[in-house]
C-alpha cells in the first residue's frame, strides 16, 4: 500500500482539516475518501479566514478542489 493511501486509511474516522484551493477550510470528521480526493466529512465547520461561517452535519467535497487534508 502506498504511503498516501496508508495515510488516508489511518485518517478515516478521525478529526481532520480539509483546505480547498480557494482558501476555505473544513474542520470535521473524515467519513470517507477516494482516489480522486473526493471527501465526505461529518460534523463539519466551514471556516473562512479562521472565522466559522457554517455548519454541516454531512458534506461532500469534490476532490479537484482539495489542496490538502491534514490531521487536526
Amino acid at each position: 500500500m502506498s504511503s498516501t493511501s496508508n495515510f488516508l486509511a489511518e485518517m478515516t474516522n478521525s478529526p481532520v482539516v480539509v483546505k480547498l484551493q480557494h482558501g476555505l477550510e473544513y474542520h470535521g470528521v473524515l467519513a470517507s475518501i477516494d482516489g480522486y480526493m473526493n471527501v465526505v466529512l461529518k460534523d463539519t465547520v466551514e471556516m473562512v479566514e479562521n472565522n466559522k461561517v457554517r455548519n454541516y452535519e454531512e458534506v461532500f467535497l469534490r476532490g479537484n478542489n482539495v489542496l490538502y487534508i491534514s490531521q487536526k
Binding site: 498516501t4 495515510f7 479537484n64 489542496l67
Partner: protein, 87 residues
C-alpha cells in the same frame, strides 16, 4: 548509466528527511517527507504552512494534492522568495 538520478529517485531519497514544497500559488510547506505516490501527491509530518513569508498553520500530518505542486526542495530549509528579496 547508474549515476543518472531520475526525478522521482531524488524525491524518494528525501523520504524521512525535511523537505520544502512550493505550490504554483504563494503557498509553501515545510515538513518531514513521509511518502508520495505516482501523481506526487505528498504526505508530510510536522508541517508548517506558509503564505508568502507568513507562517499560517502547523499540522501534525498532511496529504498535499499534487495538482498545485510546483517544486520540491530537498533538505528543507525554507528561504525567502526571490521576489521578496528584490523588493
Amino acid at each position: 548509466m547508474s549515476d543518472i538520478v531520475l526525478p522521482l529517485e531524488l524525491i524518494d531519497k528525501c523520504i524521512g528527511s525535511k523537505i520544502w514544497i512550493l505550490l504554483t500559488t504563494d503557498q509553501e510547506f515545510v515538513g518531514k517527507l513521509v511518502g508520495f505516490d505516482d501523481f506526487v501527491n505528498v504526505v508530510l509530518e510536522d508541517v508548517e504552512e506558509y503564505e508568502g513569508d507568513k507562517l499560517i498553520s502547523k499540522r501534525p500530518k498532511m496529504l498535499i494534492n499534487s495538482r498545485q505542486l510546483a517544486m520540491l526542495v530537498p533538505s528543507g530549509e525554507r528561504t525567502s522568495s526571490a521576489t521578496k528579496q528584490l523588493d
